[in-house]
């Protein structure tokens, strides 16, 4: 009789234990899923920011003649400025690089640092004011992490 009772008690304890294990597993799964979603969201935020910066550069009065057409004189003037002056307007932890493709390559860099980054590269037009000609180039905009 005592043995049977002990056996039944053990059964109950085991059952409880398994239920707790299942509940804790569900909790771990939900928390893990939540964390992975948050990490994914952070990654997406970085990509969104890089994309937004690229769009900003392509339409910013500080750099362009028309939408998606850079003004080389504005680029030269802006590339002389300290990064902090651009960061006040465009935010922190980013860089941009405009490269004119042609017989000889010309590059304008903004806030370049030796750090890991996520970046977009898009083809752009570059207007050379003195020559009154439009050249093909690329814009690379990235966000550091």
């Amino acid at each position: 009789m005592t043995r049977k009772a002990q056996h039944s008690i053990m059964e109950y304890i085991l059952l409880t234990f398994f239920i707790m294990v299942v509940i804790i597993a569900i909790i771990f799964f939900l928390t893990g899923w939540q964390i992975s979603q948050t990490q994914l969201e952070q990654e997406k935020t970085k990509m969104d920011r890089a994309f937004w910066l690229a769009k900003s550069f392509l339409s910013s009065q500080y750099f362009v003649k028309d939408n998606s057409m850079f003004d080389d004189a504005k680029l030269t003037a802006a590339s002389d400025l300290r990064c902090e002056e651009l960061e006040k307007v465009f935010g922190y932890e980013w860089f941009a690089e405009v490269t004119l493709l042609g017989d000889f390559t010309e590059t304008w860099s903004f806030c370049k640092r030796n750090k890991n980054y996520t970046a977009y590269t898009v083809p752009v037009n570059i207007y050379k004011v003195t020559e009154e000609k439009v050249y093909l180039g690329t814009l690379k905009v990235g966000v550091y992490y």
């Binding site: 009772a5 039944s8 008690i9 109950y12 409880t16 239920i19 707790m20 509940i23 909790i27 939900l30 939540q34 979603q37 948050t38 969201e41 935020t45 969104d48 937004w52 769009k55 900003s56 339409s59 009065q61 500080y62 003649k65 003004d71 004189a73 504005k74 030269t76 003037a77 802006a78 002389d80 400025l81 002056e85 651009l86 006040k88 307007v89 465009f90 935010g91 922190y92 004011v129 003195t130």
Partner: protein, 364 residues
């Protein structure tokens, strides 16, 4: 008769059930709260993304997601970077990277507007809930000032929530569009067609939060409700009064910032109108400084050998003067600095117009 074993089973079952239940209730509470915070963060992020898209494209839109959850938002325009802070739950601050005049609400209308200085345009985004701006022009000659202010508010035609305009005559609110309050463009048309035929007495109507009373008077000392504006002097500078404080204005956006923010105070007791006014002058300074530095260097680069050499030199010189005036971050509180700035902006615009006229520069 119940055996001891059955009694044990009941007690054990009760204890285990209670422990599990309390654990589950606690966890679901924490999980539910976390989930709500995650959703709040996503809604705030989507709001900023929408505002940035409006800033980029100029296409207006409305944003209604704030009505999906409980929000208590504060706009901190003077922090670095400016942020929108949620006072509900644990939501990270959302950085604001565009000039944004934001007043919290459940349904928001977002539109872009700008001030044109010829060589540079100051673009900004207004994100506002339903709002009715009520004017009390106690000076007959100043419908021009009203027109300047109204022009910089968003046009909500075909959208909700609405931003509308009307008048207050003593304790009566007057809707000038067939007894209804007008939308922006209708109100401007009314002002243009009819003008102001007589001056209004002080507004004594009791107004709820969605109203923004704006009094235009030569003497604001006795006006206690809303914002009171003294007409500008010949330099285009004047003073506005809000919640007992005086603010120097030099352009209609200073006034629009004060009106959108209004009298409501944040947790530090600062009227939101004051926060938006200071924020406007901060972003305006940062952006104008950058523009003047880039454009003056560019003018110096292009000047040698150009047929517009002297005009480029004059343009660069006006832009350098702007940099000098803006060197103090509180330039907007000093009437002499503000007068110099307006003068320098006019000079820069005029030199740029000359450059465009001679074919040396393009229209921005």
């Amino acid at each position: 008769m119940i055996s001891i074993y059955q009694v044990f089973k009941i007690i054990f079952g009760l204890i285990v059930s209670a422990v599990m239940l309390s654990f589950l209730v606690q966890y679901s509470g924490i999980y539910g709260g976390t989930q709500a915070d995650v959703n709040r963060g996503l809604i705030l992020k989507n709001f900023m993304k929408t505002a940035q898209d409006v800033y980029m494209t100029g296409n207006p839109t409305n944003f209604t997601d704030f009505s999906r959850l409980e929000f208590d938002l504060t706009f901190r325009g003077m922090s670095d970077p400016p942020v929108i802070k949620s006072n509900t739950g644990f939501v990270p601050d959302t950085p604001v990277r565009i000039p944004l005049f934001f007043y919290p609400g459940r349904k928001i209308f977002i539109d872009r507007n700008y001030l044109d200085y010829g060589f540079w345009k100051f673009y900004f985004v207004e994100a506002v809930p339903e709002m009715i701006v009520i004017f009390t022009p106690m000076v007959v000659s100043d419908d021009g000032l009203m027109e300047d202010i109204v022009r910089l508010f968003p046009s909500t035609t075909y959208f909700t929530p609405k931003v509308k305009f009307g008048f207050c005559y003593e304790d009566e609110l007057i809707g000038p569009c067939d007894t209804e309050f007008c939308e922006r463009d209708e109100f401007r048309n009314k002002l243009r067609e009819q003008g102001l035929l007589f001056s209004f007495p002080e507004c004594t109507a009791s107004l709820s939060e969605k109203y923004r009373p704006v009094t235009i008077s030569n003497s604001c000392s006795l006006i206690s409700q809303g914002i009171c504006i003294e007409p500008p002097n010949t330099d285009g500078i004047g003073y506005a009064y809000l919640s007992g404080s005086r603010y120097l204005y030099k352009d209609p956006i200073d006034l629009v910032a004060l009106i959108i923010g209004g009298e409501e105070e944040d947790m530090f007791g600062t009227p939101l109108g004051e926060t938006l006014y200071k924020y406007k002058n901060r972003v305006f300074r940062e952006r104008l400084l950058l523009a003047s530095k880039i454009f003056s260097r560019r003018a110096i680069l292009l000047s040698p050998g150009s047929e517009c050499e002297s005009d480029y030199t004059n343009f660069a010189s006006a832009l350098n003067s702007i940099q000098g005036t803006l060197s103090e971050s509180d330039y907007y509180t000093d009437p002499y600095s503000v007068r110099d700035l307006l003068d320098e902006l006019n000079q820069a615009e005029s030199h740029y117009d000359t450059l465009v006229g001679k074919g040396c520069e393009y229209i921005i």
